[in-house]
Amino acid sequence: MANKVIMKGNEALAEAAILAGCRHYFGYPITPQTEVAAYMAKKMPKIGGTFLQAESEIAAINMVIGVASAGKRVMTSSSSPGISLKSEGLSYLAGCDLPALIVNVQRGGPGLGGIQPSQADYFQATRGGGHGDYHMLVFAPSTVQEMVTLTVKGFELADKYRMPSMLLADGTLGQMMEPVILDIGEVKTYEKPWALTGTELKREHNIVNSLFLQPEELEQVNFARYKMYEEIENTEAMYDTYLMDDADICIVAFGIAARVSKNAIDAARAEGIKVGMIRPITLWPFPKKPLLEAADKVNSFISVELSMGQMIEDIELAIRCKKTVALCNRVGGMIPTTEDILNSIRNAAKGGNA
């Protein structure tokens, strides 16, 4: 096996960011993602990078904006309450067409909430989080290995499309250790002629800005951005399937919920229930196509979430309400057990709701 090491999810994503060429990290301590900052604090000074513990999450995201406008790969990480504070900056990143990676290791909310794993920031992430019309690329890893690969992908696509990427993990994925392969192959980079590198008196000045006081102009800027979003929706949606070929019931779950679902599917199959799973890997763009196709084959869907039912709305939209979608969920830091999901599957198999 090639260079397998065992790492915590938080540390693995930090190392992956470094491998992807990120040399600037700004953060603020918050459980359960503080290991990211600790890892960066240790590593960055040794490789000529910058680790800076900002005075607040708000300052951190604005430092990210500074580095991003200078054209360098940059990231910040936080957990739910901290991401709310960063949301102003997320809107500015999108409005300024700046690439950056933002990591959200989610915990239970709202408010100060708790520190145990959650997926209740789904709406915040997939709808942008801050004000205005915009999207971020949202990646939902379900293994420590994916914490690595999707971190790299997040940087690459952010640069490609000049927009912020979010790695939407949760407390479990951040805290758990699994073997990972850090050999990530060649990392894609992109030219950034728009970056603020100094004019050297040889070109017109570059301006990074989101202010357009003429409504006609701002409208065109938004139209153009959404044209690009459309392209992204057509080309960049990522998902995984499990035992969908003959499935009568389709579970839709991401991240930690998908892992528990897999155990439940195996148990249900042992009982003779034909159930499979579509696991969105990108939450924006949401993998609408495979879901719509599945809607013509399966009898019903189950959305397994660590929220009061957020992704379920995207599923219903994607399948155009052709079939019923049941919700199987735990919240507040609780994780659905295999039994919870198995019961939902049994109910669905009987034609009832979960």
Partner: protein
């Protein structure tokens, strides 16, 4: 084959280290491994636990709801998790800290006064418990212990290797 272990005790008893040891053993054996700690304020002086899953298949949930093997290093942990152990599973108990016997009849119990033995020998209780586990279960081969310890102990703490190995050896050779 999949084995799910839950190690639970007070913070400071080396709960996470036992888990880490088993996880690294899995890594060396090129098995699928998942290590999941409890985290947050409750680990500071309170109860601490970690789940380890070792498998030859990709691992689904990292959460160990129903362990095949429970290692209980204090009474609150036994009280909390005894009922969760899989039928025909095993419970390892530090009998110097837990006075009661287990109530379940459908699981095997292994009692070892690890903390007392540690006090007498100057070795560490968690390593003694680990050695005893290796002797009485098929979680991982005992012969792997040295390799695991070498991998897990950071370069600055190499002097700790011998002591840890002695602890494992002592637990392995312990008989009631």
């Amino acid at each position: 084959m999949t084995t799910k272990l839950l190690i639970a005790g007070f913070g400071g008893q080396g709960v996470l280290f036992i888990g880490k040891f088993l996880a690294y053993a899995g890594l060396i054996e090129d098995r699928e491994v998942c290590w999941m700690p409890s985290y947050g304020p409750e680990v500071r002086g309170g109860t601490s636990n970690c789940g380890v899953t070792l498998s030859d298949e990709p691992i689904g949930s990292p959460v160990v709801d129903h362990p095949d093997i429970l290692i209980a290093l204090n009474l609150p942990s036994l009280d909390k998790f005894e009922g969760a152990v899989e039928k025909d599973g095993s419970i390892y108990i530090d009998s110097s800290l837990i006075e009661r016997k287990i109530e379940r009849e459908d699981v095997k119990a292994f009692y070892i006064p690890a903390t007392k033995l540690a006090r007498v020998t100057g070795l560490s209780a968690n390593m003694i418990m680990l050695g005893y586990l290796l002797k009485t279960s098929n979680v991982m081969p005992y012969e792997l212990a040295e390799k695991v310890i070498e991998k897990i102990v950071p370069p600055t703490k190499q002097h700790l290797i011998a002591g840890n190995l002695k602890g494992i050896e002592y637990g392995y050779n312990y008989c009631e």
